[in-house]
Structure formats: structure tokens, C-alpha cells
Amino acid sequence: MDLFKVLEPGPFTTIQDSGRYGYQQFGIPVSGALDTFSYLAANVLVGNPDDAAGLEITFMGPRLETLSDTLVAVTGAEVTLFVNDQPQAMWASFRVRRGDVISMKASSKGVRAYLAVAGGLLVPKVMGSRSTYTGGKIGGLDGRPLARGDRLNGGSPVSLDRIVFLPEDLRPRFATEVTLRVLPGPQDDHFDAGLNVFFSSVFTVTSKADRMGYRLDGPIIEPKDGVSLSIISEPSLSGAVQIPSDGQPIILLVEQTASGYAKIATIITADLDVVAQARPGDKVRFERVDLTEAHQLHRDYRSILNHLRDAIEGQNSA
């Protein structure tokens, strides 16, 4: 059914789900929501399955006119949310009626907000996913961001009475100085003194930061004497920190499939949500962990995600 009419799209709002897996060997990146925790929380709040499609909103929100009564939740970056000019809390589900206008002001903390609607947004699945990949012009709305006048279709809400929230202590806190935990490699052996510079310096997120990757600004990271930063091209995973020929790190993200430069380290999965919310000008440090620690942190992160549904659905039945 018709759920929303897009009055204003916002600077870069796309339809995303949990991602497109199994096609990287054909040059198709995973895509999907960049901040997994906030995306998942929004779905759980409106009673959706984990992988339902919603909106990923960058910096500034869209203005949406509601076309059918439904249930909505907005999570992620701190935006000021309104329904018909009445303030509405984030991290909570709320009802909207036909004719209501949902809008939000620019984010004050964080970058990406997530809007989930009961039943999920419905667009055709492309290779198993509804995620928009603008570079390949696939998924979402013909592979492009939202535009004025678009109509968004969705499933029917199971119940309009699921008014729940995520307790404050479970929500992420957005800091302007963050420490990202990494495992050295896959090409840490291309560096010697450069590794010390990487682990002891503070880097600044530049404005060249999107779903493909974030360019950082900081001291130059040099390779070992006589070793090239250029490597035979190989596939990359989200979180890999590549050092191109200018020596300034680039964090590769979900819309990248291959890289031809040495990757000094790779950010652990649990900290990728922090990257998703880092703003230009924010300060970044890298901290080394070993594989055993990284796998423990991975288990902890996954149990936090699993706990989300209990934390929210507990209230509903109470």
C-alpha cells in the first residue's frame, strides 16, 4: 500500500536493508544500513523482522506526507523529529495518520538516522536485497536516492498499538572523539615505523566521507623502505583501512568491493556502527586488539543485537 509521499527528500536518503550478500565475487558490494544497531532497533520498535527495508537518512531528514495510517520509529543520529510540527521522541514507535507530515531538522550528533515503518518499505528485491547501491544503480528506487514526489510503498502494520521505546541506557552515545579497535592487516607487513604512527596519532574525519569510504587527515603513514603501497588488486571488506600513495588513511565501507593499496589494519565489526556516525571534523584514534579479543568483542556485540528484541518486546507485553 502507499505509505508516504516525499515532499522533500533530504540531501541523501536511501532505502536500505541488512545488505546484499554473496555477490562480491561479481563486483557487487554488500551495501545495506551503515549503522547496524540503529537500523535494527528501528525495525524492532515497529515490530518488523530484522531485515525489513527502511530509510537511511544522511545529516538532514526528508519531509514525508503520510498516505495510510501506520506505525513509525526513528533511531540513529540525533535529529529533531516532528509530526505536524509537534516534537516526537526518537527511539520510540509512534502512530501516524493519513495526512500527517513527518519531518526532521539536521542532526546535531551523529550522521545517519533510520526510519522504519511497520511492515517495511516494499521495493523489488534485486539479487536478494532491497538495499540501494547508487554506484551500480540497483536496489531501492531504481538505484537512486529519494526524490521529491516519490511515493513509498510498504507492507501493512500487524498492529498499530505497539507503542514501545528503547531504554536510554541501551542507546548509543555519539562522541566527537572516538577510538576504533582494529586488527592489524591484511598488509601490516608493508609497514614498520608507519605502524607506530598509525597507532599513536589522532586523525580527523574529512568531508570526503560517504558509504564507499571515509578519507582521514593526519600524519603521513609511510611504507617500509623499498616497499610499495600499491598491491595487486584484491577484494576489500567494510572496515579495512587502506593507505593510498599520499599516506592518508581511507576507511573502506560497504560500497567498496576491491582495493589496490595496502591495508594497514581492519576495524572490528562491533566498531563499524561508530564509524557510520562519525562526522567530518571528528577525531579518530586506532587501538590494536588481537584476534581472540576481537572475536570476544564480536560475540558481545552480537549478543547486544540479540538482546534488543527482548529489551523492547518485554515492555510491550507488560
Binding site: Y21, G22, Q24, Q25, F26, G27, I28, V126, M127, G135, G136, K137, I138, V182, L183, P184, G185, P186, Q187, I232, S233, E234, P235, L237, G239, A240, T257, A258, K263, T266, I267, I268, T269, L291, A294, H295, L297, H298, R299, R302
Partner: protein
């Protein structure tokens, strides 16, 4: 036995990936090992493996750390390596890609010819006379990184990449040749264009080839190009 390692090298890719490197150069011998291992993994499906991505000289294995660990993965790969002889590997297919060379489709073909003291006709004959192996697919959906470009067509890439290379363009960069499946920026020297749609997400099989397959470029005229384009649209 140039470049093939005696023992595969494991490189960590964060907490959920590992690159298994079989050599340190681009060669058919290393690539056969990679193709065989990828086929073996897809056949045996060891627990916890999410995706296997073949590259020039390595495999990137993405795994679920909740379902397996690095030691189990290494053991499983070693076990498979010992049994490779008993495995039947699907023979690589050869995919023919029709190309209309030169003209508006190949704005750099004169440059390539002049750089090697060849005629445009020579460039077309040599380029369409070779058989190319797909070592890896990446950069954009379906973009094939091909090995096997004849020595005397090696040409450096453009100093400044074009902001828009039309889908179907066939190009050369150093010792590589390839085709752009979708409109994208690009710095390869363009010598022709194919009317085939190399990536079409609405087809049952969105891609015409996979890593390990061979590509043969077949020369066609501008008229044939137009005809195939028109057929593709109906």
C-alpha cells in the same frame, strides 16, 4: 614454477575475514590453484564460511566468527588442499563478446596504434586474436580484470580519467584489458564497445561470466552493433 607459494599464506582481514594467498604474482598457474580451491570450498562447504571471493593470487574468505574460528578454517583448507587431485573442477567456459572497434566507440585506438608503431587494423587483429582469462571481478558490477593482453598492446592508462565511460566500452590499461559493464568514471584507453549488456540485474543470471572463465573478443561492424543493440531492447 614462478610465484606459487609452497604453503598458502594467511592474512587476517579483521574479525570475520581471511585472505589466503597462493602466490605473489599474476600467473595462470596460481590462478588454477585458486579456482580449484574455490570450487573445493563451494563443494565441501565447511561450517561458518559466508562467502569465498577469488582474486588474482588469493581467496578472500568471509566467515562467521560465531560459527567457526581461524584454526578450524585453516585445518579445513589444508585437508581440502590434500585432496585437490581427486576433485573435478568445472572447465572454464569461453564467453564471446562482440566488439565494434574504433570510431566513436574507441577514441583511444589511434593512440594505442601509434604508441606501438601499428596500424589500427593491427590493433584490432591482435586484440581480438587473443584469449583472455578473467582473474577477478570487481570495481563495478561485472567489471572483469583480464590477463593475457599481448605484449605489444601494453599502453599506460590516461593521465586524467574520464568522468564518464559509457557502458560496454572496451579498454586497455598497462598489461590489462577489460570492459566497463555500467557507465562509470574510468582511466583506461578505450578501443571499442560491445552491444552486450554485461550486467543486467533483471536477468535470471545477471552476469555472463565468472572469475576463471575465458573471454574472446569478436570483431563486429557498426551495423552489427546497432542490430544487436536493437534486438537487446526488444
Amino acid at each position: 614454477m614462478g610465484g606459487l607459494f609452497d604453503k598458502a599464506v594467511f592474512r587476517l582481514v579483521g574479525d570475520r575475514g581471511v585472505i589466503v594467498e597462493y602466490g605473489d604474482e599474476i600467473s595462470p598457474e596460481i590462478n588454477i590453484r585458486i579456482r580449484t580451491m574455490a570450487a573445493a570450498i563451494n563443494e565441501e562447504k565447511p561450517a561458518g564460511i559466508v562467502e569465498v571471493i577469488p582474486t588474482y593470487r588469493s581467496l578472500l574468505i568471509v566467515y562467521d566468527p560465531l560459527a567457526t574460528d581461524l584454526k578450524s578454517l585453516e585445518d579445513a583448507l589444508q585437508f581440502m588442499e590434500g585432496r585437490l587431485d581427486q576433485l573435478e573442477i568445472p572447465r572454464p567456459r569461453t564467453v564471446e563478446i562482440p566488439v565494434s572497434y574504433g570510431g566513436d566507440f574507441g577514441p583511444d585506438i589511434e593512440f594505442v596504434a601509434q604508441a606501438h608503431n601499428l596500424t589500427v587494423e593491427d590493433v584490432i587483429r591482435i586484440h581480438s586474436g587473443a584469449l583472455y582469462q578473467i582473474y577477478m571481478i570487481g570495481f563495478t558490477p561485472g567489471f572483469p580484470f583480464l590477463g593475457g593482453l599481448p605484449e605489444h598492446l601494453k599502453t599506460p592508462r590516461l593521465e586524467t580519467p574520464r568522468p564518464l565511460v559509457p557502458a560496454g566500452s572496451v579498454g586497455i590499461a598497462n598489461n590489462q584489458t577489460g570492459v566497463y559493464p555500467i557507465d562509470s568514471p574510468g582511466g583506461w584507453r578505450l578501443i571499442g564497445r560491445t552491444p552486450l549488456s554485461l550486467f543486467n540485474p533483471s536477468r535470471e543470471n545477471p552476469f555472463l561470466y565468472r572469475a576463471g572463465d575465458m573471454i574472446k573478443f569478436v570483431r563486429i561492424s557498426q551495423e552489427e552493433y546497432n542490430r544487436i543493440m536493437a534486438e537487446g531492447k526488444t
